[in-house]
């Protein structure tokens, strides 16, 4: 890859020629667009569906907006993420000296994100989808003077285009077979379509939308693009864009096609479970904070895909009320994931801006230096663990309940798939705790492990406000999911094929219809608060009876003092896990021992090197890439530079065309 002379070096970083108010304008417009998205989306969820048609705006069929509760909910969710990110981006862009290009692209990207769920016709959808892919690619390449960024951009571009081709083929064949260009027409004609077409469309949409949602095996762009993109962009991509992959699956397969045979749901569950387990395993051994969060996105999207697959499978098995619980779990977890992942990436961006680091092995000690960011990241990490009082708890609990309460009877498929899914969910949740404890404990607590971490600066006020907005979302989902209840009910009512009209009621206490299970996050939170204040009171009460505290130096094993090198690192924390899952993770470790020249018994130095590659990428992508490269080398042999030879090739080609097309 050649280095672009204009783009290289300091010209990009210093952002020459950008007015000092530009970040405020860009972030402000982004936030305003987001707020507009929330308002319009919520109106569509609760009010009458919105229709709009602008004939000249998009080629072929014109722009067609058709906003129903499903699209409105995704629009509102995207808008909420964009509002938080927009406020954050004001401070972030100022501190990182963004150039003009990303400042302009950020609101454009948000606009395309809002268009996709609003699209009412296939052409508008595809147009918005591709515009979204291109603007996000441009934003990923913001720091394109670095090699890793360009490589990540290439990965993202290739995978997103593979996905786009799959979606294009699926939607075009669907619309030509049903004779209608808009989703409403497709839904009306879906019953008359042949099973071969329906199955083909299902598989293509799972591949295409799965690549955007970061599902296995087309997830490889996530852990590359998310760490290299600027953090507000990572947050938008991970909390808003990947959701649209799920949106596509729900819109086409669940709503337009109205569900399918049982293997559809089973396929989605298998893909989701594999993504969840693989993603969380990679997250728990990853030492790069943003890479960890990116893998966690794969994990959570996997869980959501699993929940949607479960609802499709149960809906097709005639268990509508349990299917509705799984659907609610998927939707709720989608909201929760958007909240905690946006917050996680924004906090990671604050760490990156404050220390210049995202390597957990070199971070640490941020709790003293960046107290607000630490608390906010803690809220995000708690949400990602799926523990009570965290945002991810309610969705995962509902998914587990729907799986546990599935009456299996003598149904072989159900009695095979459901217990395995419960196992995958349990493993994912457990490992998710390890990953997030590592990210928070190693990254933010203990002592700083490098000079960069020692000189950390707290994020600027606008960044903190942006993060606080996302944190508010986390807290609402965690403590009062009932606030989302009416919206979820409206969304689910548009999905009758998975029992959407008989979902669980999200009151102050979550009760499941037809199943013995209830939980109340609000009461849990209240009990937790009471317990903490009780302990504090008791501790204060006993303080008079104790002797005065004596201050002594920290115990350093008899050594002179503690050094940061004595601490756990992210790599050592994950080492036991890496050993247990050696076969799946296949880490690349290397220990080189150099002996002293005079004696084998004395060691001069030991070098330890470990790299955690993505096993799927290693064994699935690179063989293909190598094969393509080998073919290309073969083709190059024909390029001799002789014009006569080229004329001969052209003639042969023409003859073939004439003979074939006769």
């Amino acid at each position: 890859m050649k280095r672009d002379p204009v783009a290289s070096g300091t010209a990009v970083r210093s952002g020459t020629g950008v007015a000092s108010g530009a970040p405020a304008v860009s972030g402000g417009v982004t936030a305003a667009l987001g707020a507009l998205g929330v308002v319009v989306g919520l109106r569509a969820v609760f009010g009458a569906p919105l229709h709009a048609s602008i004939g000249w705006l998009v080629p072929f069929a014109g722009l067609r907006i058709d906003l129903d509760p499903l699209g409105g909910a995704f629009m509102a969710l995207t808008g909420a993420v964009a509002a938080a990110v927009g406020v954050y981006a004001i401070g972030y862009a100022r501190r990182e000296h963004w150039a003009r290009f990303p400042l302009v692209m950020l609101p454009v990207f948000v606009l395309t994100l809002l268009v996709v769920p609003a699209a009412g016709s296939v052409t508008t959808f595809l147009f918005g989808w591709e515009a979204m892919a291109l603007t996000s690619l441009a934003l990923v390449l913001t720091e394109h003077h670095r090699d890793e960024v360009r490589s990540a951009g290439l990965f993202y571009a290739v995978l997103t285009q593979i996905g786009f081709v799959a979606i294009l083929v699926a939607l075009v064949s669907l619309s030509s077979a049903s004779g209608s260009g808009d989703f409403a027409g497709i839904r009306a004609a879906a019953g008359d379509l042949g099973p071969a077409l329906r199955n083909g469309v299902f598989l293509l949409t799972v591949v295409g939308f799965g690549s955007k949602a970061g599902l296995l095996p087309l997830h490889a762009w996530l852990p590359r693009a998310h760490p290299e993109a600027p953090s507000p962009v990572s947050a938008l991509m991970s909390a808003a864009m990947v959701n649209l992959g799920i949106y596509g699956i729900v819109r086409i397969d669940v709503q337009a096609l109205g569900g399918g045979p049982r293997w559809w749901g089973t396929t989605l569950m298998v893909v989701g479970a594999a993504s969840a387990v693989f993603g969380v395993l990679q997250a728990s051994v990853s030492a790069d904070l943003k890479r960890l969060l990116a893998y966690s996105t794969t994990e959570n999207m996997g869980l959501i895909a699993m929940a949607i697959g479960a609802s499709m499978l149960l809906g097709a098995s005639g268990l509508a009320s349990v299917a509705a619980i799984a659907l609610t779990a998927a939707l709720l977890h989608l909201v929760a994931h958007a909240a905690f992942k946006a917050l996680g990436f924004l906090a990671a961006g604050s760490v990156l801006a404050g220390t210049g680091l995202r390597d957990l092995d070199r971070l640490g000690g941020l709790a003293r230096r960046m107290p607000y960011t630490t608390v906010l990241f803690g809220i995000a990490a708690l949400g990602a663990t799926g523990l009570p009082l965290g945002a991810g708890f309610v969705g995962e609990w509902l998914l587990l309940q729907s799986l546990i309460h599935t009456p299996q009877g003598d149904n072989t498929l159900l009695s095979l798939v459901i217990p395995l899914s419960i196992g995958a969910l349990a493993l994912t949740t457990g490992l998710g705790i390890v990953a997030m404890v590592k990210a928070f404990g190693i990254g933010f607590l203990a002592r700083p492990r490098s000079e960069g971490a020692e000189k950390a600066r707290e994020a600027s006020p606008t960044m903190l406000v942006g993060m606080a907005l996302a944190a508010l979302g986390c807290v609402v989902v965690a403590v009062a999911p009932a606030a989302l209840g009416p919206a979820l009910t409206r969304v689910a009512s548009t999905l009758p094929s998975v029992g959407g009209d008989q979902g669980p009621k999200l009151g102050a206490i979550l009760r499941l219809p037809g199943a013995a299970g209830s939980v109340s996050p609000a009461i849990l939170a209240a009990a937790f608060a009471v317990a903490i204040s009780l302990v504090l009171l008791l501790a204060r009460w006993g303080v008079g009876a104790r002797p005065a505290a004596v201050v002594r130096p920290l115990w350093a094993g008899g050594g002179p003092a503690l050094t940061p090198r004595m601490q756990y690192t992210a790599t050592s924390f994950a080492e036991p896990l890496q050993r247990v899952f050696d076969d799946v993770l296949r880490p690349d470790t290397d220990v080189a021992v150099t002996h002293v020249a005079e004696s084998r018994y004395l060691i001069e130095k030991i070098t330890f090197r470990t790299a955690q590659a993505d096993a799927v990428e290693e064994h699935l992508y690179w063989p293909v890439v190598r094969a393509v490269a080998a073919v290309a080398r073969g083709v190059r042999k024909a390029h001799t530079g002789s014009i006569h030879l080229y004329l001969l090739f052209g003639t042969i080609g023409l003859l073939v065309v004439i003979v074939v097309g006769r």
Binding site: V550, R552, P553, W555, A556, G558, G559, P560
Partner: protein, 159 residues
Amino acid sequence: MSWATRILKVGRIVQASPAAPARTVPSPTGTRASLQIRHVDAGSCNGCELELSGAFSSVYDAEQFGARLVASPRHADALVVTGVVTHNMRGPLIDTLAATPEPKLVIAMGDCACDGGMFRNGYGVAGAVGDFVPVDVELRGCPPTPDQIVETLRKVTGR
């Protein structure tokens, strides 16, 4: 007859321990049959370590009298110091005692720890344990036998 009933029938077989010695040293924590010990090797020839591990082995089983070895001075009520104090271990010994919470006890084990023993005027030797930290209990012997160690510990634990 299953193994469970056989166990029940045979009951518990233990060798009777010798009668408890008089409690000459008050337990630092004021409790009976509980003494958490951190062992510090201040520069020993490892003879005392061998006997100490024997005392805590299944044969002599010092733990049945309430003495227990712990891994950090933070958890300890008492230090058992073996060996002469070498120049290199003088600082760590003092630090270890400082890191032990009050109230605490120092048991000097072996002739070297008590007065320097056979290494008294060695070139790397700083002195006996008593020269640097206050010693509460002295346990003579080169090395003391496990029986002697257990007996001394029982004087502290009172069991």
